[in-house]
Amino acid sequence: MLYLFLDIITTAAILFIVSSGLLIIFGVMKIINFAHGVFLTIGGYSSLVVTHFDWNPWFSMPLAFVVGCLLGSVIERTVLRFLYHRPLDAILATWGLGIVLGQLIIIGFGREVQFAAGPVSGAMELFGDFYSKYRLLLIIFSVLVAGAMWLLLKGTRIGLQTRAVIMNEPLARGLGINSSRVRLITFSFGAGLACLAGAFITPLSSVDPNMGLPWLVSAFMLVLVSGNSFLALASACIVLGGAQVLASTYISPVIGGLTLAVLAALLLRIRPKGFAYD
C-alpha cells in the first residue's frame, strides 16, 4: 500500500518535472513545443557526457540546463519568432527541429542504448519497505522546480512581465513591456527546464536517441489539461499520473501506458478547461 502510494507520488513528481518546461512555453507563447522530446533527450546525453568524462554526476544537471537555454534561445531567434501567429505551424516546425536535432544526436553518439551514472543509487528503508532513493529524491526535485518557478514568476521583474504577457499580451505591450524579450527568455528557460528534466529522469532508465518521445506525448497532454497554471499542472500530474500507476498495477502495463493520454483527451471533451479552475 505504501509502495503504491510512493509510486503515485514519485510518478506525479516525474511528470511534473518533465511537463513544466512545456507548460511555461505554452502559457506565455500559446504554442506547443514539439521539440520538447528531443530537449529531454539532450538532457539525457548531457548526463552521458558527464559520465563519460567521469565528472561528478551532480554536474550533469546544471550542464543540461545551460545547454538547453542556449539551444532554446537560438531556436527562438531563428525559427519560432516567425510563427507566433501560426500555432499549428509552430507545432510542425518544432517537430522538424526535433528530427534534425535527434539525427545529430545519432551521428554524435550512435543509436545504441547507453547508461549514465546517477548521483544517488540504491534503495532506502522506509517504514519497513525498501524504495529507490533516487525516485524519492525526485519528489524533492519537483518541489524545488515548482518553488523556483514560483519565486521567478512572483518575485522578479521578468516574472512580473511574463505574467503580464500570459494574461494579456496586447495590454502588456501597450504598457511598454518588451514581449519579444519575454518570449526569448521564456523559450530558452523552458528549453533549459526540459533538458534539466531529461537529466533528472536519466538515472531511472537508459539513454537512447528516442528516449524523449514517450514523455513528449504525456507532457503534451498534461499541459493541455492544465492551461497555463502550475497548480493545475500539479493536480493533473497527481490525478492522471495516479490513474496511470493504478491502471498499470491492477489492470495491465499496456492499459497503464494509454491511461494518461486517453483520460486527458476525454477530460478535455467533457471539460475544456481541464484542471484549470478560473
Binding site: G96, I106, F220
Partner: protein, 609 residues
C-alpha cells in the same frame, strides 16, 4: 416568381475556365499519368518499382491528409493509424484464417468498416462546438498511440513489436502491383483534384477559413468534418490494406504517430491544399530517400528535417505552388491569352432574383425572450431579460459598453450560451441548439467584427450563403447563384456586383461589411441580428444601410434587432428602442420616448446608480 438577370462581368468558376475545359484538362493529365504508369515497369528496374509501389500507396494516404489539413484545416496525425488499421486487417486475416478471395473481401470490408467507425468516434471526440485546432491535433495524436499499444499488447495474435510477416496474400507480379497501385493512385488524385475545386471544396475551405461564420450560415461544420474524416480514414485504410498485400508484412511502425507526422511533412513540403503537391512530393521524396538514404543515411534525414522547417517558416504554401507559378509565367503568351479571353467571354454569370413568399405569421412574435440570464461564475452579465419582437419591427438595443448587448446577441444565436430563460424564434424554442440549428429556424446574424472567408471570392461567399437552399456539387462549380431580392439590391447598390471575382481579403472595409450583410440576407432570415452594422462606415454607406434596413422591415416584414452606438442612426431607422444597463433591461419603448427619457441621458453621462 423568379426572373433571370444576366450580369456582364466576370464569371465565378474557380479557375476561370468553363467546366468542360477543366474536365478536358484533367482527363488529358490523367491519361498522360496513366500512360507513364503503364510504361513504368518496362523501363524501371525492380528495386525502383518496389520503391514506387510503396510511394504510390503513401501518396494516397498523403492525399487524405491534404484534404483534411490543406483543404479543411484539420491538422491530423491520425491518418497513419488508419493506414495501420487497414494493413493489420489484411495481416491478421491472412495469418490466422488464410488467404482466399473470400477472406480478402471480408478483411477489406472489415478494414474499411473499422476505420470509418473509429474515425466517426475520433470525429465526435474532436469536433465539438468550440474545440480548438490544438485539441483536434491532440485527439488525432492519441489515436495512433492507442492503436500501437493495442498492437503491442496483442502478443502472438498481432505479432507485438515485430509485426506479422510471411502470410499468404493475393500475389501479383512486381509490374502487376505497379500498374494496380499506380492506376488507383492516379485516379484518386484526379478525383481529389476535381473535388477540391468543386463547390463542395469551397465549402470545406469556408470551414477552414472561418468556422464560426460557416456555422452562422447554417453549415453543420462538425458533421461535415466528421463525414470527411470517415471517408479519408477509409481511403487511408485501403492504402494500408494494399500495402500489406504487396509486401506481406505489417509492423507497428505502419500505424504509429511518427508515420502520421511523416505524412504531414510530405503534404507540407509538396504544398498543402493543392492535391498535386502532396502526391508529387510524396512520390519524389520516397523515391529520393530510397537512393540517397543508403548513401548518406543520417544526413538525408537532417536535410529533409531542415527543409521542412524552412518551408514551414518561410514558404507555408509548400514547394509546388511557387514552381508552378514560375512555369506558368514561361507559358507562351498566346496560350495564356486564350485562357484569359475565355475567362472573360465564355461565361455570363446569372444571378437569379427570387422574391421570397413570406411564411411568417404576423400574430406571433418573431423573436421572444423570457427571463434570459447569463452568468460567468459569480458575475451576472444578463439578468432576466424579457423582450418580444413582432415581425416588421426594427428594434435597436442600446446601452453603454459592458451593458451586455453583444452577450445578448450571442445568447440568441447560440443555444449553449445562456445560463437560463427561454428564447423562441418564430414560435419555436431554441433549446440548446447549435448556431446552425438556430439559423435553420430563420435567424441571421452579423458580427461586430466583420467575419468572412478571407481566401474565397465574393461570388463563392454568396454561393455559400445560399447553403440552406442548395446542395453544393462535389464535382462541378455552379455558374450562377440565386439571391433573394433584398440581397440582390444591396449587391447592386453597393457596387459589389462588379467585384464578384475579387478575393474577399482584397476588399475595402465598407465592402466587407456590405458583403456580410448580403450573405446574411441570402439566408432569407425572418429575424435579423446585426451587431453594429454601421461601425467604420462612411456617412453615405450608413445612409444606404439605413435605407435597406427600413425597406426590409416595411416591405418584407423582417424582425430586425440591431446593436448600435450611433444615436442619430438609431433615431433614423428604429421603431423601438431597448436599453440595457449592467445586464438589466431598464427601458423598452418607442424611439422618441426612450431617447428623451432622463434615465438614458443619465446612463450615457454616467450618473445612474
Amino acid at each position: 416568381m423568379t426572373r433571370l438577370v444576366t450580369g456582364a462581368d466576370a464569371n465565378h468558376t474557380y479557375l476561370g475556365l468553363p467546366l468542360h475545359v477543366r474536365f478536358k484538362a484533367v482527363s488529358i493529365l490523367t491519361g498522360l499519368a496513366l500512360l507513364v504508369v503503364l510504361i513504368g515497369p518496362f523501363v524501371l528496374d525492380p528495386y525502383t518499382q518496389s520503391v514506387l509501389i510503396r510511394a504510390f500507396l503513401l501518396a494516397i494516404t498523403a492525399l487524405t491528409v491534404d484534404l483534411l489539413w490543406g483543404t479543411t484545416g484539420i491538422l491530423t496525425f491520425a491518418q497513419g493509424a488508419f493506414f495501420g488499421i487497414g494493413a493489420y486487417a489484411a495481416g491478421l486475416m491472412f495469418t490466422h484464417v488464410g488467404y482466399t478471395v473470400g477472406t480478402m473481401m471480408l478483411a477489406l470490408l472489415a478494414a474499411i468498416a473499422v476505420s470509418m467507425l473509429v474515425a466517426a468516434f475520433v470525429g465526435w471526440l474532436a469536433f465539438w462546438q468550440g474545440a480548438t485546432p490544438l485539441y483536434v491535433a491532440v485527439v488525432t495524436l492519441v489515436l495512433p498511440i492507442v492503436v500501437v499499444q493495442l498492437i503491442y499488447s496483442g502478443g502472438a495474435f498481432t505479432g507485438s513489436s515485430s509485426g506479422l510477416v510471411g502470410f499468404d496474400a493475393p500475389s501479383l507480379s512486381m509490374s502487376g502491383w505497379f500498374w494496380f497501385t499506380g492506376t488507383i493512385m492516379v485516379l484518386l488524385t484526379a478525383c481529389a483534384w476535381v473535388f477540391i475545386r468543386s463547390d463542395y471544396g469551397r465549402k470545406l475551405n469556408a470551414v477552414r477559413d472561418n468556422e464560426t461564420r460557416s456555422r452562422y450560415l447554417g453549415i453543420p461544420t462538425s458533421n461535415v468534418k466528421i463525414i470527411l474524416m470517415m471517408f479519408m480514414a477509409a481511403l487511408a485504410s485501403l492504402a494500408g490494406f494494399i500495402y500489406a498485400c504487396v509486401g506481406t508484412i505489417v509492423a507497428p511502425e505502419h500505424a504509429d504517430f511518427v508515420f502520421g507526422t511523416e505524412l504531414v511533412i510530405y503534404v507540407a513540403l509538396g504544398g498543402r491544399g493543392t492535391v498535386l503537391g502532396p502526391v508529387i512530393g510524396t512520390i519524389g521524396l520516397e523515391w529520393a530517400s530510397a537512393y540517397v538514404s543508403s548513401i548518406l543515411p543520417f544526413v538525408w534525414t537532417i536535410i529533409i528535417g531542415a527543409i521542412f522547417v524552412v518551408v514551414i517558416v518561410v514558404l507555408p504554401e509548400g514547394l509546388l505552388p511557387p514552381i508552378w507559378r514560375a512555369l506558368a509565367r514561361r507559358l507562351p503568351a498566346r496560350l495564356a491569352n486564350t485562357a484569359k479571353s475565355k475567362r472573360a467571354t465564355v461565361f455570363h454569370p446569372l444571378v437569379e432574383i427570387g422574391a421570397k413568399s413570406s411564411t411568417t405569421s404576423l400574430t406571433q412574435p418573431a423573436l421572444s425572450l423570457t427571463s434570459v440570464t447569463k452568468r460567468y461564475g459569480h458575475l451576472q452579465v444578463l439578468n432576466g431579460i424579457d423582450i418580444q419582437i413582432m415581425p416588421g419591427e426594427l428594434v435597436g438595443i442600446v446601452g453603454p459598453n459592458g451593458a451586455g448587448k453583444t452577450t445578448l446577441m450571442r445568447c440568441i444565436s447560440d443555444g449553449m450560451e445562456r445560463s437560463g430563460g427561454t428564447i423562441k424564434v418564430n414560435g419555436k424554442s431554441i433549446d440548446h441548439k447549435s448556431p446552425e440549428g438556430i439559423t435553420a429556424l430563420g435567424l441571421g446574424r452579423s458580427f461586430q467584427n466583420t467575419s468572412l472567408f478571407g481566401s474565397l471570392r465574393v461570388s463563392e461567399c454568396l454561393r455559400l450563403a445560399r447553403y440552406p437552399h442548395y446542395k453544393p456539387s462535389k464535382i462541378d462549380t455552379a455558374d450562377r447563384v440565386g439571391l433573394p431580392l433584398a440581397a440582390m439590391e444591396v449587391l447592386e447598390s453597393t457596387g459589389l456586383q462588379a467585384q464578384l471575382q475579387e478575393q474577399v481579403n482584397n476588399l475595402p472595409h465598407g465592402m466587407k461589411r456590405a458583403l456580410e450583410l448580403i450573405m446574411v440576407l441570402s439566408l432569407e432570415p425572418s429575424v435579423l441580428l446585426l451587431d453594429e452594422p454601421t461601425a467604420g462606415l462612411t456617412k453615405a454607406d450608413r445612409l444606404m444601410i439605413g435605407r435597406i434596413l427600413t425597406d426590409l422591415q416595411t416591405r418584407l416584414g423582417l424582425a430586425i434587432v440591431l446593436i448600435e452606438h450611433d444615436f442619430d442612426f438609431v433615431k433614423q431607422v428604429c421603431s423601438r428602442l431597448v436599453v440595457l444597463h449592467r445586464g438589466e433591461l431598464i427601458l423598452d419603448g418607442p424611439v422618441q420616448e426612450v431617447v428623451n427619457s432622463d434615465l438614458v441621458q443619465e446612463i450615457y453621462s454616467g450618473h445612474v446608480e
